[in-house]
């Protein structure tokens, strides 16, 4: 498997391993997009909201809070005239961006190879 410095073996396939929890955090549409959106500098809530087309404020807040709790992003409040809040990557978050960027990139580069039927209708699999 992949032994780590603490001496234990960590395994994403083990449901009781912390790795599983972290995979659950990162292997998530909105997390992957939010971290990617911060790759080229800090962004404010509103900017993220427009960049992550289709996200609702509730879900965006939840995603950002979760990423913050896990040390992937920082949340900085500027109590200026119109209050604004900036989100930025921590070093850990920046590192996490690498595999996520590769995944996003892979999807874009290989999108043509997927069955067309299922691409056109997001809910093609839901039969009445």
């Amino acid at each position: 498997m992949a032994p780590t410095s603490c001496g234990r073996t960590h395994d994403v396939y083990d449901s009781s391993c912390p790795c599983r929890h972290m995979l659950d955090l990162l292997a998530n549409k909105w997390s992957a997009l939010a971290l990617g959106a911060l790759e080229d500098g800090p962004r404010r809530f509103g900017a993220l909201r427009s960049k992550l087309d289709g996200v609702s404020p509730k879900v965006l807040t939840a995603t950002l809070r979760r990423l913050e709790e896990h040390g992937l992003i920082d949340r900085t409040v500027y109590p200026a005239v119109p209050l604004h809040v900036e989100y930025s990557l921590t070093p850990l978050g920046r590192d996490a961006c690498e595999p996520l960027a590769l995944l996003r990139r892979w999807v874009v580069d290989n999108i043509e190879r997927f069955p067309q039927a299922v691409l056109s209708d997001p809910r093609a699999s839901v039969a009445p």
Copy 2:
């Protein structure tokens, strides 16, 4: 962005782009684990169920069906004495494994860097 052969630009940040839908499929805990579990050869339902520690049969079925519909895995039924079903990667699925393997790998390699508090309790963020 990343223009593709069809002439359109594809963008995972655009909610109406098929890419978004595919990212949603791949940026998912169970998908990432299931594809990884098939990397070194076909596996049967029961084998996947044990490998993906903690998955319920319902969710595993749904995950596998979705991956099959999207052309990432094949489902082969052997109507032999004790019926068995084998799941295997398609070429597309095999290619998709690369970025997913990097992500799983990154998590395992960097797990020690995450805040310990949040690692120990998967639901630390859930207040009364």
